[in-house]
Amino acid sequence: MAETEAVRVGAAEADRRPEGTAFSDRSRLVEGVRAYGLIVAMWLRSTLAYRASFVMTTVGNFVATAFDFLAIMLMFTHVDALGGFTLPEIALLYGASATAFGLSDLVLGSMDRLGRRVRDGTLDTLLVRPVPVLAQVAADRFALRRLGRITQGLLVLGYALVTLDVEWTPLKVVMLPLMVLSGAAIFGAVFVVGAAFQFFAQDASEVQNAFTYGGTTLLQYPPSIFAQDLVRGVTFVVPLAFVSWLPALYVLGRDYPLGLPGWVAFLPPLVAGASWVLAGLAWRVGLRAYRSTGS
């Protein structure tokens, strides 16, 4: 049922396309976003058909992530500071990272299903449709319930902003939305690279979880508590430090880890752009290497 709907969406796209036109990269991007929107709209309709179930799973998503922060609050019943950071300061790190991750999980979180599609051969269905495969995989089973995670992140962020003792400057105010959006883009690139990796590894979606879920857990705590090598790894190899650590430390007026210079806090948009270029390349390599199943 869902499959046929998606096919129809794809077919409708094809009808509108003039015969024999070579598509430039730009219009391919527009086309991809359009297709993504159509498939998402279809999944939204099907999700909202079962409203009670949607409400329950969204609440569940909210509670699941709220437990994370509850554990941190329980820690703070025993201590006043963790790694030299107070609860409101950690709430800022947590809120920024959780919201950024929540956004990219909402938009691209379904990509970890790619391994299953490679295994059972249903990826072939996506390949024959005249719609970019990345858009189809990303929109596959779009899960609106993930709003629960974003809500939780935003609430913690709100709590941080209310309780924090910060001298706000226009630059610091701008930094907040900038950090969340660039952070979401960086996590998004990680999702795409993880999916590309699954063309080769097939049932290794857990590796992706280590970087996405593991990454957001890491960013919820201050860098001061981690080993220097670990901090170096998430700054220069997988650039997760740019999601929340560096911009948030600027807002808090704290020292950066690894003795990094002051301007690095403004790099997140650039890092996000560069990550997406690399992710796009990884995706292409993965897709080219795809061989359908033999069975």
Binding site: A201, E206, A210, Y221
Partner: protein
């Protein structure tokens, strides 16, 4: 008895087939172990001997959590999806015709799964954790044995809870909500996010008395040598008590549920 041994072996083999997935899971457990270990180190640096653990005991607790996460299925992920699906589609009617007990059948398979996950996803992260951090590993082989008994009891408690959740599909048809509630409770009340003896006041009392504490908190305390002699017997009795009570509840619910089964013709 032989039948259930074969089913258990089947459960073990079934999970052993997914080698890449197991390796990927080991990687994830190790990454999470590292992140949590550093946060616990920061916490115990502020308050040494928090919750009665010293730093190396706290670190050991972290890695035990990663080792037992899949074994005791604290976030779900065992047989329950499949059982629910069989209830929803009506295949359960075929199962009820088999000359085997429904509950014991699934228990045997789940024990096999748990045994594989203990070896496949427990040993390697624990070993890596022991290499990177100073862990409080027991010297006496008896303590290791006592720990394994406690883990086995924990797996049975975990099974019994998930069996009850799966049976809810007889009434709810779509058990996704119930399953989600169960894994949320499992994650929080097993002590996976934070040891239960760090929970304050009444919340702590309640959390330690609930069945989920059998999944991680009790086995970890056995491993760390906090339950010895009569106290060990009491810990076992706590776990076994919950196991028996929940298994009996499952049996009761099963007999009520199977009376509701209507086999559709077609």
């Amino acid at each position: 008895m032989r039948l259930y041994a074969v089913v258990a072996a089947g459960g073990f083999r079934r999970y052993a087939t997914y080698r890449v997935a197991t390796a990927a899971g080991v990687f994830t457990n190790t990454v999470f172990g590292f992140v949590m270990a550093y946060t616990y180190m920061a916490l115990w640096q502020e308050r040494p001997r928090l919750g009665g653990y010293d730093t190396s005991q706290a670190l050991t607790y972290v890695w035990l959590g990663q080792a037992l996460l899949m074994t005791c299925a604290m976030m779900g992920g065992g047989f329950e999806d499949e059982l629910m699906e069989r209830i929803r589609t009506g295949d359960i009617a075929v199962d009820l015709y088999r000359p085997a007990d429904l509950q014991l059948w699934w228990l045997a398979g789940d024990l096999g799964r748990a045994a594989f996950h203990l070896l496949g996803r427990g040993v390697v992260p624990m070993a890596l954790g022991a290499l990177a951090f100073d862990l409080a590993l027991p010297g006496s082989p008896w303590r290791w044995l006592a720990f394994l008994v406690s883990v086995a009891l924990g797996v049975v408690v975990s099974f019994a809870v998930r069996f009850l959740v799966a049976l809810s599909a007889f009434w709810l048809m779509d058990g996704a909500g119930a399953m989600q509630m169960a894994w949320l409770a499992g994650l929080f009340f097993s002590g996976m996010l934070l040891p239960l003896n760090l929970f304050p006041g009444a919340l702590g009392e309640v959390a330690r008395a609930l069945p989920w504490s059998s999944l991680l908190q009790v086995p970890a305390d056995v491993f760390l040598g906090r339950h010895t002699g009569w106290d060990l017997v009491r810990a076992y009795a706590f776990q076994a008590g919950w196991a028996v009570a929940l298994l009996l509840a499952g049996r009761l619910l099963q007999s009520v549920a199977t009376r509701r089964v209507v086999v559709q013709g077609g």
